[in-house]
């Protein structure tokens, strides 16, 4: 039962309530318990959860939920709103010093991903902000940490400042800033060694680096999978260094990432970036409002909408919709549709963002992208006449198409059949919607 989203958890409560006219205070209490458990399961710190649930309860017991006809929807709405408020409503950008270079210090526990993030951030600054960063290798403790940063530098063709591992990190940091001034770099990214927040000696070293280089930005790198201890780590780093921001790493995993909420709540500093994959360009500005729905297990609705908006031409979509309704769909439309979906990114990523499409169900759905490529090849091997009027495709045409696309006649047959089924289904759907307006059809839970 681990990792159920809030929606699923609340569903069970609603099922129990079914048939009763209104929501009692006891029901709200029950719902709040589910909210609490969902957040705890997402690794949000229990102290943060406690305060949060109390805030939500006040609003929920009030007018909004009790009088609503759809209490479930209301609870989720309230929870989502409060959560977004707590996460910070707006995206926060990286600092830029008035007089270059802007000095950025990367700090955190061992294995959080500081070195990788340093490389990614350098790439981000160059690509998105058109800056010229210098990376500094100040992790003299972990074996080969300097090699790692230097390798990243080579991959990016970007300079890395290093003095080897026998030099005091404070001197490395100052040296880097000086070199940046000489060579007119506008950012210096200092990669420090991972350390425990309770290690006084090493925390002292960070304070000395801070003193020496007066950074404009001190970013705490936090593993998104961190458990309850995230609060102590963040609190302690913040007390000793006055953090200016947080980078959340490994968010491409299947963790709900409750640590994000905990860390934000105790430090009050914004989460500025999120690591979304192993590749050097997979660092994204953090979207606090989207994190809320992820923690709740509601899918990343907003991201999906945004992706669709940028990639799907609206007018074409309308036209397509009309064709669907009249079941005049041709292979040309099909191809276009395929491309639009493809432009949105890897399919499994897309699927994971759909609310209700939970991890459990998705686990068995292995989206085979090469399969789509094959379908595309088949369609592209048709003549335009065949695409417009699939009914003309006879045996000899099929043979030609199969040959042209490097597939078999069976593959072609299968696609033709699927296409026909699709058309039929669409016709049925439109008929259904015509008869009972609004009701039925596809409905997402609570929407």
């Amino acid at each position: 039962m681990a990792f159920e989203g809030l929606a699923e958890r609340l569903q069970a409560t609603f099922d129990k309530m079914k048939g009763r006219g209104k929501v009692s205070e006891a029901d709200v209490k029950e719902m709040m318990r589910e909210v609490r458990l969902a957040l705890l399961e997402a690794d949000v710190n229990f102290k943060v959860v406690k305060k949060f649930v109390n805030d939500v309860k006040e609003r929920a017991v009030g007018q909004e939920v009790m009088k609503s006809l759809t209490p479930g929807q209301q609870v989720i709405k309230v929870v989502n709103e409060e959560l977004t408020k707590l996460m910070g409503e707006e995206q926060s950008k990286i600092a830029l010093a008035q007089k270059p270079p802007t000095v950025v210090m990367m700090v955190g526990l061992q294995g959080a991903g500081k070195t990788t993030t340093t490389g990614k951030l350098a790439n981000f600054l160059r690509k998105k902000n058109n800056r010229k960063p210098l990376m500094a290798a100040a992790d003299i403790y972990r074996p080969a940490a300097i090699d790692q940063l230097e390798t990243l530098g080579k991959q990016l063709s970007m300079p890395v400042f290093s003095l080897g591992d026998q030099v005091n990190p404070v001197d490395i940091a100052t040296g880097a800033v000086n070199q940046a001034k000489e060579e007119h770099h506008d950012y210096v990214l200092i990669d420090t060694a991972g350390r425990l927040h309770v290690d006084e000696d090493l925390m002292g070293e960070l304070q000395r680096i801070k003193e020496a280089v007066q950074p404009d930005e001190i970013l705490l790198v936090v593993d998104a999978m961190t458990g309850q201890d995230a609060v102590n780590v963040a609190e302690s780093f913040n007390e000793q260094l006055d953090l200016t921001g947080i980078v959340l790493t490994k968010l491409d995993g299947d963790t709900r990432g409750g640590a994000a909420l905990s860390v934000k709540a105790v430090t009050g500093t914004p989460i500025k970036f999120a690591g979304m994959g192993e590749k050097i360009d997979q660092l994204e500005p953090f979207h606090p409002e989207r994190m809320a729905s992820r923690i709740l297990g509601m899918g990343d609705v907003l991201s999906l909408i945004e992706k669709a908006q940028t990639n799907v031409d609206e007018e074409r979509a309308k036209e397509l919709e009309k064709k669907m309704r009249t079941a005049e769909l041709t292979f040309d439309d099909f191809l276009e549709q395929l491309e639009q979906v493809r432009n949105m990114g890897p399919l499994d990523e897309l699927l994971a963002m759909i609310p209700g499409a939970n991890k459990k169900a998705l686990k068995n759905v292995q989206v085979d992208e090469s399969q789509i490529g094959r379908v595309e090849a088949i369609v592209r091997s048709m003549t335009s006449h065949e695409k417009q009027q699939p009914s003309v495709i006879n045996a000899s045409r099929k043979r030609r198409i199969a040959k042209g696309s490097g597939t078999s006649i069976q593959d072609v047959n299968r696609l033709l059949k699927q296409f026909e089924d699709m058309k039929k289904m669409m016709k049925q759907m439109t008929n259904m919607q015509g008869k009972k307006k609004g009701k039925g059809g596809f409905q997402l839970p609570f929407m």
Partner: protein
């Protein structure tokens, strides 16, 4: 409370270095946990709903995990009814007893499966940043101390600097490292490593792999292939597949353990960075929800601080104060310090 008496007798008569390591490594977890428990007993005189809710929070706060905690609380509630417990002080021993029960699955084998004759191959797997390479360095040292011939395979060909990192460990410990270029096929590295270890008549081959998040299907398939290649070259191998987990990880650790077990048939867990966290509770969740024994624990940064997991040691390290209070010897201990 015979369980604790037994434990206490065992560990007060032997003050060996291992017990010390466990005590020190778990100090943070213990301090926060026992402190909170004492506060709980001071705050609530009677055992009621609120008491249980508070207890639930303490346990969840230690990363024990929601479902394990709920299960535990239910068991405790039954116990309270059964024994007719009203006063909160009476329930204290019951709580520690239950926790210990969950930790100490008797008959479980936490020993590493080391071959008497021939080579033992140990494959290390896990997500990014948990400390696989460091663990391998420490394990190499551990076997080297026992006069075994050890070879390490640099199977993390993906992360920048990973091969160099293992090489530094190789020099430090005095162990050969088999490697190829960065970016090469890890399965090919394993093939080479087995040939080379054979030629050297090595006793132990430690195989590093790149960190990977468990939801990356292709990377998990790659790991499957690595394991397959090892088994093809040496039918019984790998003799151990150790999943390295970071003790600061929250509930995702369970998902990691499940997925890695499905793909690579994990035979044991290495729990790292236990000294840095006040949590350690994830051990409870893992042992309660999954059938994978914890075999090694990292209790500090030193090369000697990787220890074989011992449930009794762990319970003692965790509940030291409770154990001593329980057996009425806490004060004596204070004085003798």
């Amino acid at each position: 409370m015979s369980f604790f008496k037994k434990l206490k007798e065992k560990f007060t008569t032997q003050t060996d270095s291992v017990t010390e390591k466990f005590k020190e490594g778990l100090a943070k977890t213990r301090d926060s946990f026992v402190g909170q428990m004492n506060e709980l007993f001071a705050q609530y005189r009677s055992v009621d709903e609120e008491f249980f809710e508070e207890l639930e929070e303490i346990l969840i706060g230690a990363d024990v995990g929601v479902s394990t905690v709920l299960e535990l609380i239910d068991e405790l509630k039954d116990e309270v009814k059964l024994r007719n417990i009203k006063d909160s002080t009476e329930i204290a021993p019951v709580i520690s007893e239950k926790l210990a029960e969950k930790l100490d699955k008797s008959g479980e084998d936490t020993e590493l499966n080391i071959q008497k004759d021939g080579m033992t191959v140990i494959l290390f797997v896990g997500v990014n940043g948990v400390g696989k390479t460091t663990t391998i360095g420490k394990v190499a040292h551990f076997f080297k101390e026992q006069d075994k011939t050890v070879v390490m395979a640099a199977g993390d060909t993906f992360r920048a600097g990973a091969i160099e990192q293992l090489e530094v460990w190789g020099e430090r410990v005095g162990v050969d490292v088999v490697k190829q270029q960065a970016g090469s096929d890890p399965a090919a590295v394993m093939y080479d490593a087995i040939q080379s270890a054979r030629a050297k008549q090595a006793d132990i081959l430690l195989c590093d792999t790149a960190g990977r998040l468990q939801n990356k299907v292709n990377l998990m398939k790659e790991l499957e292939k690595v394991k397959r290649v090892i088994s093809r070259e040496l039918p019984e191998a790998p003799h151990e597949v150790l999943l390295v987990l970071d003790a600061t990880t929250g509930q995702n650790a369970l998902s990691q353990a499940k997925t890695f077990q499905e793909t690579t048939d994990v035979s044991g867990i290495v729990l790292t960075k236990l000294d840095g966290t006040a949590r350690g509770g994830i051990v409870l969740a893992i042992r309660n929800e999954l059938d994978i024994p914890v075999k090694l624990v990292g209790l500090g940064e030193g090369i000697e601080d990787l220890q074989q997991f011992d449930a009794e040691q762990f319970v003692y390290g965790l509940f030291k104060e409770l154990v001593e209070e329980d057996t009425g010897a806490g004060e004596e201990d204070e004085e003798s310090r």
